[in-house]
């Protein structure tokens, strides 16, 4: 297990190196001079050339890249061109909200998705099953901003149970988390349902039932653990994506997470922040995947890592 983790961590470094090349090229291939963009159209030519020197834009591309990677692996993501703050500090200031939001949404998605999916599978081809399938389809296909505005309208504006926007503590995150969680719950429900349907037909399920165990117990102790593996993969992937920033939802709810930070950075062409964010997101994604893989072995002892 330990060897496996080390191996995975090493390959992570390789992945991050690849990502660093992509990020670097991405930012440098976008047209437009960042120095002019930062200083505005009325900046003096000397101020612009000073800024170009400060950004290292006057050096050959390969030198710029080496410096960029060197800093990256030394843990220095650079300094924001607009705010003058360290990119790492900016991300860390914003990350707690996104992290809370991601955890809450995944919990909501997991609870509703697994519950509904299991019920639908057990009650296959009944009206309950069809309702669940329909509801999950709605959850998947309704646009996030629409759900968000609908929830704000009902629960924040009409009923005044929550703030409309902004962050005042964890209860401010409930509506955005539901917004994100609903769409994912739909996907989780469908996946749980089909996975569970396969498991239900297995011999060991029939055996357990034949031995007189209650249906509830059979599903819970024999069915679910076997059906849940693809669901965990899905949850893990979604969690990674959520941590990397729920851009739309953070914008609608005016939440200061890393999704909104990314949007701000891109609109202002704040190169170091964009680069740092993408790098950070890649790291989060890779780590989440690793954790998901490790969770497998705990759920299903047949999966070994050597």
């Amino acid at each position: 297990m330990r060897r496996y983790v080390i191996k995975r961590l090493l390959s992570l470094v390789g992945t991050l190196l690849g990502v660093s090349v992509l990020i670097f090229l991405m930012v440098h291939l976008i047209p437009g001079d960042p120095a002019t963009q930062i200083l505005g159209q009325f900046a003096t030519p000397e101020a612009i050339s000073q800024m170009r020197a400060k950004l290292g834009l006057d050096q050959p591309l390969w030198q710029q890249y080496l410096r960029f990677v060197g800093n990256l692996f030394a843990g220095d993501l650079g300094t924001s061109l607009f705010t003058g703050e360290k990119v790492w500090d900016q991300i860390m200031n914003r990350f707690p909200i996104t992290m809370q939001l991601a955890i809450l949404s995944v919990i909501i998605a997991a609870i509703f998705g697994i519950l509904l999916g299991t019920i639908a599978a057990v009650k296959q081809n009944t009206i309950i099953d069809r309702l669940v399938v329909l509801a999950s389809l709605l959850g998947i296909s309704a646009p996030g901003f629409w759900i968000a505005l609908f929830l704000i309208w009902i629960f924040a504006y009409k009923l005044a149970l929550f703030p409309i926007s902004g962050y005042e503590g964890i209860h401010s995150l409930l509506l955005p988390a539901i917004t994100l969680g609903l769409a994912e719950a739909g996907m989780i429900a469908r996946m749980t349902r089909s996975s569970m349907l396969e498991v239900i037909r297995q011999d060991y399920m029939r055996t357990a039932e034949a031995k007189g165990a209650a249906l509830f117990r059979v599903i819970l102790s024999h069915g679910l653990p076997n059906a849940i593996i693809p669901v965990v993969t899905m949850l893990g992937l979604q969690f990674g994506a959520l941590m990397a920033g729920a851009v739309v939802v953070e914008t609608v709810f005016s939440l200061q997470g890393i999704g909104s930070l990314a949007i701000e950075a891109i609109s202002k062409r704040d190169m170091p922040t964009i680069q740092g964010m993408v790098f950070f997101m890649a790291l989060i994604f890779a780590l989440t995947n690793l954790i998901v893989d490790l969770i497998y072995s705990r759920i299903d002892p047949r999966i070994h890592f050597d």
């Binding site: 003096t44 707690p96 703030p163 902004g166």
Partner: protein, 532 residues
């Protein structure tokens, strides 16, 4: 016992959430709507968080980051010049030395008195670090001749300086504090304004509290003393629907940049007032005058004559704007009604005349497809436009209007940075652009040959002479006359096609006396009161 492990997993996620929630760096009640609307706090919903509160480092002074700074001279809502931090000013015979007599009762937020020496230090800092110091003109040196007398020496006369002052670029900041704090000044700025920086949640909110010692309000304000509310907060919200709901719920007093299509609904709400403030600049079609097509003045004019500005304003802007035909918006110093009406007469839509000009240039519709052609090639041009919604709507109207004149216009949506880059490389036909400035000197910044900000690559020595003269002429009447001549050239030769001047729409509720000055583009806070 696999289930137990799963439960454990779920538990640890809960614990993690609780932990993160506990140690989150986000203070509660920062953006709290309850605290905000009930207390004696003026709450303004605003679109963008400024980059820096240090006015010498910001890329643009906006209401969010300029309110703590006060200009030496100011204008009232009718455009009339008034004393600000300077009681009076005087310009030497040769126009090179500006002398300011400063008020004696002004203190910075740090408690230090504002003296000529401190204002000099502020100027020196600006000249040392501001990327836009060029806008302040050819300043040679600044000296404090006594405790309250400041002299600004120019290497040559610079007439636009008065409007540079009004615009706030050279407003004094607390240079001693700036020196002490270095980069940290942006997080703890100090100046002379009626509000004092309080706290900032990047991207979420910006809070100021009132300056209790303030007693030097401008002449045109009824209240010269401290503000009549305790604090003010900008809340940054990007999503239009969210901003609207916050305003309707009553959690913000002022909805800045109200979405134009929501104004009709807002007007029906009890207590809501809608104010419109005209921009200090135009939106225009930048034509590439170096392009083989638009180096021909007949084609430039044909484009102008194909455009009907009224539907642009009515449809693309929901009526919140004014058509303009001449070079300067009415709120810019140097605007001339005579020029505007002449331009209007010349370029009000006339498809017959447009087609005639095209025909004179050799472009006629020989194959009957509705598009004029020459040597078998149709007249097809590309319009660069940014993603801004109003621009997007406008450019589609323009497309159909130009088509009626026989010009095939293709729309190319690009990022503004890309557009600017292509313009500077001269690889474009036309682009939908904008400008904004406090003085007719903007024409120098756009058109004079030494400027890199040209959007049209138009070169006219006669115009250059006038635009340079306009900077040097200290006599106001003569100066305005020079700009009339310069504008006349621009109207006759038409290197660009001015389209409209936008209006910012502001909805307010629960607040009295909230006004925005169109000439300085600043909020006047002095007479603002909150309704309880």
């Amino acid at each position: 016992m696999k289930i137990h492990k799963w439960k454990q997993g779920a538990m640890s996620v809960f614990v993690a959430t609780a932990l993160i929630a506990g140690c989150s760096s986000q203070p509660t009640n920062q953006t709290g709507n309850d605290t905000a609307a009930k207390g004696n706090t003026l709450v303004i919903a605003s679109l963008t968080d400024p980059d820096s509160l240090d006015m010498h480092k910001t890329s643009w002074l906006s209401m969010e980051n300029s309110l703590i700074y006060e200009p030496l001279l100011t204008r009232d809502a009718t455009g009339k010049l008034h004393p600000g931090l300077a009681e009076k000013y005087e310009i030497s015979q040769d126009g090179k030395v500006w002398t300011f007599i400063l008020r004696k009762d002004v203190r910075y937020h740090s408690g230090d008195p504002m003296t000529a020496a401190s204002v000099k230090d502020s100027f020196d800092r600006l000249l040392a670090i501001s990327p836009v110091k060029g806008l302040a003109g050819p300043i040679e040196k600044v000296e404090a001749t006594d405790e309250h007398t400041l002299k600004v020496h120019f290497s040559q006369p610079f007439a636009p300086f008065v409007n540079v002052i009004v615009g706030g670029l050279v407003s004094p900041l607390d240079a001693k504090k700036a020196k002490e704090l270095g980069d940290g000044f942006a997080d703890n700025p100090s100046a002379t304004g009626p509000i004092i920086f309080d706290k900032r949640e990047r991207g979420a909110s910006l809070t100021y509290k009132k300056n209790p010692d303030y007693n030097w309000g401008p002449e045109y304000a009824a209240n010269k003393g401290p503000l009549q509310f305790d604090s003010m907060m900008f809340r940054f919200m990007k999503d239009d629907d969210t901003r609207l709901m916050e305003f309707k719920k009553g959690t913000v007093h002022v909805l800045y940049d109200a979405p134009p299509n929501s104004v009709a609904e807002l007007e029906t709400l009890p207590g809501v007032k809608i104010e419109k403030v005209m921009d200090i600049g135009n939106k225009y079609i930048a034509l590439n005058n170096k392009h083989p097509l638009f180096s021909d003045v007949r084609l430039r004019k044909a484009v102008a004559l194909s455009v009907d500005r009224d539907p642009l304003v009515q449809v693309a802007l929901n009526g919140f704007g004014k058509p303009v035909y001449g070079p300067l918006a009415p709120t810019i110093y140097g605007y001339s009604e005579a020029i505007e009406s002449k331009a209007k007469q010349l370029y009000t839509r006339d498809l017959g005349k447009a087609r005639q000009l095209l025909a004179e240039a050799g472009w006629t519709d020989s194959n009957g497809d509705g598009i004029v052609d020459k040597d078998g090639k149709p007249l097809s041009v590309e319009m660069l436009v940014s993603q801004e919604p109003a621009f997007q709507r406008a450019v589609q109207i323009l497309q159909s209007q130009l088509k009626e004149a026989g010009i095939d216009m293709k729309i190319s949506v690009q990022e503004m940075t890309t557009i600017k880059e292509r313009i500077s490389k001269k690889s474009y036909d036309m682009a939908l652009m904008y400008y904004g400035w406090f003085d007719a000197d903007i024409l120098y910044l756009i058109f004079e040959k030494s400027n890199s900000t040209s959007r049209t690559h138009y070169n006219n020595p006669e115009l250059d002479v006038l635009l340079n003269k306009g900077r040097l002429e200290m006599n106001e009447q003569s100066r305005l006359k020079i700009y009339e001549e310069a504008q006349e050239i621009l109207v006759n030769d038409l290197p660009w096609v001015p389209l409209w001047v936008s209006e910012t729409v502001i909805a307010t509720r629960g607040v009295k006396g909230f006004t925005v000055n169109p000439y300085t583009q600043g909020i006047t806070l002095h007479d603002v009161t909150l309704e309880k």
